[in-house]
């Protein structure tokens, strides 16, 4: 197979070897980047060709790759930094064969007319023939021109009992919007909720992600790989302008084997314990069974000065995969169950604005009780079932055809403190069923890699009327049809180009009850009278079909300035249909004593985002600098206070969704420096500013400047031990909108008007962490490693601007956890 390049002056070609036909040659998926030429010789045979060989998976340099000039006896080997040099080369076409142990050789034809430098990327992970197919499935390249961040096993295990959002927060540019200490959702570049996607096992997680207090209902321990792209670099999965989090399983090898890993954890603060176990049984035939279970439980936590009453949680998760990886056909069945109960800080359950005011004015929570291990009301109880069936065929005209059916059932119950017979009845009980049918085809040509697919989704949301509380979110049936195409052009010398486009059609059939008072106030009569299908006393049932067509695209370019430096540029134009909450939510938020209304006139939201990465990935000093800008023009959806509503409990502030123009600017910096083999320093800094450009006021809940410094050191003669010292500085958010209001209270016999300050952010804080790691050490047939993790070592008392319950209590105090990992 031979393909001509489209850049005339370089004439590079690939020779692809077909791994299915040849035993000696394994699969190759190659992308190239190029170094600019630094000097030019005019002699015929005095040209120098330098190159660098990378592992395409992790971008690390490959040592001991063999480089042969075919048709000559010239051979060389790459050094520890992956660099090689071929001197005294003649002008003209030469063909290079670059091979490495366990890698498939790459053949490159180069038209040499001056001394040049090239990068070569080898697919490294292949260990046996049987794995040819498997490794293809193992790690998918998410984006060729966006920086893909992945969590190491250590980073993932550190948060194995704490949840996904916390684990992701280790990546610069990622923060957590939390509700108390157990509910967290990731914020990427200042965006969260429906603007951040969580993709697990190739399917977008559907779990009422619009809610600020709705954590992703997924267990990070089920998946071996956790990767993240800031921005909508992965249109394959959906259109989320903030970013996308990808959780993936690795397909087992085609060998007869039984292996696993167990993490046992204990926690001092919260008196928690957890057990996470993962087992794989694989067969030489390619069949395999995977099992994973998580159990964790915590009681009430403590802040440095007081108990955080009713803050425990428990979680039980289970997943089973069955599959077979044949050479041509691969199939997999996946089932998972996620179940969590999370207590909500008791003092955050308030009745009205005066209660909120009292909470804000008090330095300590208004309810402090002795520590308990049980979960009381208020609480959230969520469960999430997933069943996937997928099939891949790898021999369809040398591409891969994927078919997948996925079903998700999410149930969310929120229990408040209620009276009488309804005491044990949830105030919110929603069931979301989502069916996805996906098919895509991936193929390679000499030009690059292509991927095209279609999606059909049906989603049904049902709110149980047994709550005897009016629905926060109406019942709806959503049908989504979509298609995407992505292309990576990677055979140009210095550059990789990427392009993606996605179209979606959304059809929402919504059945919503409107209160007559609201109906009259907003004058819905004119617009919606024709949709009224039933009238009750004081309520109207409206059935509407809302359709949205969204078109998103992105374009990226990766330029390798040298073998060690590269620059990425990505632009995306993302269109997002407003979610059901933004259009129709209707209800009281207890923790903020506010009434929230959707806006049925919202239009689709278009976000433009440009991200640049300056990336140096090798050597003692490495860095990535990522400046970005996002613009939402006239249709960026936010919620803001608009007035008050009188109830028998007093007047409540009303928040309504509205569309504005928004501008996000920011930058993330990661750098690391290895002083020597035993000591490494790492920094990650995140900065973002977001402004409503219509009013020139800042947006709410934007992460403040965060600087994370980490020092890792080990002892030269004690290699299985290292210490990590982590210092996290979160500055005060000085850019915030003023959403304060006043409330009259009786004080000293007089009625006085008091400011309910829900806007002013708390001071910045410094969180010091320490982690000690031993191992892994062999122990009979297994290996064992032990980690001792100390969070908030100084037992600092502080409040976090991004915690929605910050009015009620401090963050948790010092915590000591012990983790024992067993590799079976």
């Amino acid at each position: 197979m031979f393909d001509r390049n489209f850049l005339k002056n370089f004439h590079i070609s690939f020779i692809w070897s077909n791994c299915l036909n040849s035993f000696s040659v394994l699969k190759a998926v190659v992308s190239i980047c190029i170094l600019t030429t630094s000097f030019v010789f005019s002699q015929e045979c005095a040209l120098t060709l330098t190159g660098k060989v990378f592992d395409v998976e992790d971008n690390l340099p490959l040592e001991a790759a063999v480089i042969e000039v075919l048709g000559s006896s010239t051979t060389t080997v790459s050094d520890a930094t992956g660099v090689f040099q071929l001197k005294n080369q003649c002008k003209g076409k030469i063909t290079l064969k670059i091979s490495h142990l366990n890698c498939e050789p790459v053949f490159r034809e180069i038209d040499l007319f001056k001394s040049s430098s090239f990068n070569f990327q080898l697919k490294h992970r292949i260990e046996s023939l049987d794995e040819v197919i498997v490794s293809k499935l193992r790690v998918h390249e998410l984006s060729a021109t966006s920086k893909v961040h992945s969590l190491s096993e250590l980073e993932k295990d550190r948060y194995s009992s704490k949840g996904l959002a916390g684990a992701l927060e280790q990546i610069s540019g990622v923060s957590v919007l939390s509700t108390g200490n157990s509910i967290g959702k990731p914020i990427i570049h200042g965006m969260f909720g429906s603007r951040v996607g969580v993709v697990y096992d190739g399917v977008m997680l559907e779990n009422q992600q619009w809610g600020q207090d709705h954590a992703p209902n997924v267990d990070l321990n089920t998946f071996e790989n956790i990767r993240l792209i800031k921005g909508s670099g992965a249109l394959k999965y959906g259109t989320t302008p903030g970013g996308v989090v990808i959780l993936e399983s690795i397909h087992p090898k085609r060998v007869d084997s039984l292996y696993g890993k167990t993490i046992l954890g204990g926690m001092y603060n919260g008196r928690g314990y957890s057990a996470i176990s993962h087992w794989v049984k694989s067969y030489k035939s390619g069949a395999y069974v995977k099992f994973q279970g998580t159990f964790k439980k915590n009681g009430d936590f403590t802040a440095s000065n007081y108990n955080l009453t009713n803050t425990g949680n428990k979680e039980n998760n289970l997943s089973i995969s069955l599959g077979k990886n044949g050479l041509q056909h691969q199939w997999k069945a996946f089932f998972s169950y996620f179940d969590t109960d999370i207590a909500i800080l008791k003092s955050a359950h308030i009745g009205n604005v005066k209660d909120l005011l009292r909470a804000i004015e008090s330095d300590v929570p208004l309810v402090i009780e002795p520590l308990k291990n049980d979960i009381d009301y208020p609480k959230q109880a969520n469960n999430h079932y997933t069943a996937n069936l997928e099939y891949t065929n790898t021999k369809v005209a040398k591409g891969e055809l994927h078919l997948k059916y996925s079903w998700q059932r999410n149930n969310r119950k929120e229990f408040d403190i209620r009276r009488g017979e309804l005491k044990d009845t949830p105030s919110l009980d929603m069931e979301l069923n989502t069916h996805n049918l996906l098919s895509n085809y991936e193929w390679n040509t000499g030009l690059g890699n292509f991927d095209s697919g279609v999606l059909f989704q049906l989603q049904d949301n049902y709110s149980s009327p047994d709550t005897e509380i009016r629905r926060l979110i109406p019942d709806y049936l959503k049908t989504k049809l979509g298609g995407y195409f992505t292309a990576v052009f990677n055979n140009t010398k210095d550059f990789i180009f990427e392009f993606g486009a996605r179209y979606e059609y959304h059809n929402n059939v919504v059945q919503k009850f409107y209160k007559d008072s609201r109906w009259d106030l907003k004058n819905y009569e004119a617009a919606f009278r024709k949709y009224v299908i039933r009238e009750e006393k004081s309520q109207k049932l409206v059935k509407r079909t809302l359709e949205f067509n969204t078109f998103s695209f992105n374009a990226g370019i990766r330029h390798s300035i040298s073998p060690t430096y590269s620059v990425n540029f990505n632009y995306s134009h993302t269109q997002r249909a407003p979610n059901i909450a933004e259009m129709f939510s209707d209800g009281l938020h207890h923790s903020l004593a506010s009434i929230e209304y959707g806006n049925p006139f919202l239009e689709k939201e278009t976000t433009h985002k440009a991200v640049i990465d300056f990336d140096k990935r090798t050597g003692d000093f490495q860095f990535t600098l990522t400046p970005f800008v996002s613009i939402g023009n006239n249709n960026y959806i936010i919620i803001e206070p608009t007035g008050f509503e009188s109830t028998i409990r007093g007047a409540f502030p009303v928040w309504e969704y509205t569309a504005i123009s928004a501008l996000f600017v920011g930058a993330d910096l990661d750098f690391s420096y290895a002083f020597n083999a035993n000591m490494q320093f790492r920094n990650s800094t995140s900065w973002v500013e977001a402004t409503n450009t219509k009013t020139d006021l800042p947006l709410v809940n934007i992460p403040p400047l965060t600087i994370n410094n980490q020092l890792q050191f080990s002892l030269p003669n004690w290699k299985s031990f290292f210490v990590l010292l982590n210092s996290k500085n979160v500055f005060r958010q000085n850019r915030y909108p003023n959403n304060n209001f006043t409330e009259s209270v009786i004080e000293d016999g007089k009625i006085v008007s008091k400011l309910v300050d829900i806007s002013t952010p708390p001071n910045g804080y410094h969180d010091l962490g320490l982690e000690l790691n031993w191992g892994p050490y062999p122990l009979r047939t297994t290996k064992v490693s032990v980690s001792l993790i100390l969070d908030n070592v100084l037992d600092a008392s502080y409040r976090n601007y991004l915690n929605r319950l910050r009015f009620y209590s401090d963050e948790i105090g010092r915590n000591i956890s012990l983790q024992v990992k067993l590799y079976h």
Partner: protein, 197 residues
């Protein structure tokens, strides 16, 4: 072959699903059973047993909620309760859900049933000399604290006081002189002016 089986399985399950969800019923109307929408205060003059009942509900109450779009809550619409100086009155407070006018629910019964978790507190501004104590027939909780569902108001000198009435759910304390002392979540907050003249 295996592909065909797979496809058939997927298609079959999908058709099943489509069939199952296509005929979704209309959502059921929810009437909020526990919501408090009406508070009554029956004021009885102990001297002559004459009584008057005052109703508190949201202004313009259409058995839903009323909305104003001002930037602040309004405290200017006040019910006035006329009292005579140097007199003694019994105030009986009751809570109802009248969302469905044909089936008015008396929430006071639930409050009495969960007497340990409820408390009524009257908070007064200066301006009138009124002493409030638990009245005869008041509910007493298991810790011997009166709930203040029935209170005796003893007036002395003439004057006007603003009164805030709270029904407190799960109070942290049942004794105190200001709303702050009781903690808990406010389930009802109404206000009126007590005119002693």
């Amino acid at each position: 072959m295996s592909k065909n089986i797979f496809l058939k399985t997927v298609l079959f399950s999908f058709i099943l699903f489509l069939a199952s969800c296509d005929d979704k019923d209309e959502p059921v109307t929810i009437n909020e059973e526990e919501s408090l929408s009406l508070v009554t205060l029956t004021v009885t003059n102990e001297a002559n047993n004459s009584s008057e009942t005052y109703r508190f509900e949201v202004e313009g109450h259409d058995h839903g909620d009323e909305t104003n779009t001002g930037s602040q809550d309004s405290h200017d619409v006040h019910e006035e309760i006329e009292l005579e100086p140097n007199s003694s009155y019994l105030f009986e407070i009751r809570f109802y859900n009248d969302e469905d006018p044909t089936n008015i629910e008396d929430i006071t019964l639930e409050v009495i049933e969960e007497k340990d978790e409820h408390h009524v507190f009257y908070e007064l501004t200066d301006g009138a000399e009124i002493t409030i104590t638990s009245g005869p027939g008041d509910t007493i909780d298991s810790n011997s604290n009166p709930l203040n569902l029935i209170t005796r108001w003893t007036t002395t000198a003439a004057g006007v006081a603003d009164v805030e009435v709270y029904l407190i759910h799960e109070p942290t304390s049942k004794t105190g002189g200001t709303r702050d002392d009781f903690g808990g979540a406010t389930d009802v907050e109404i206000e009126f002016e007590a005119h002693v003249e």
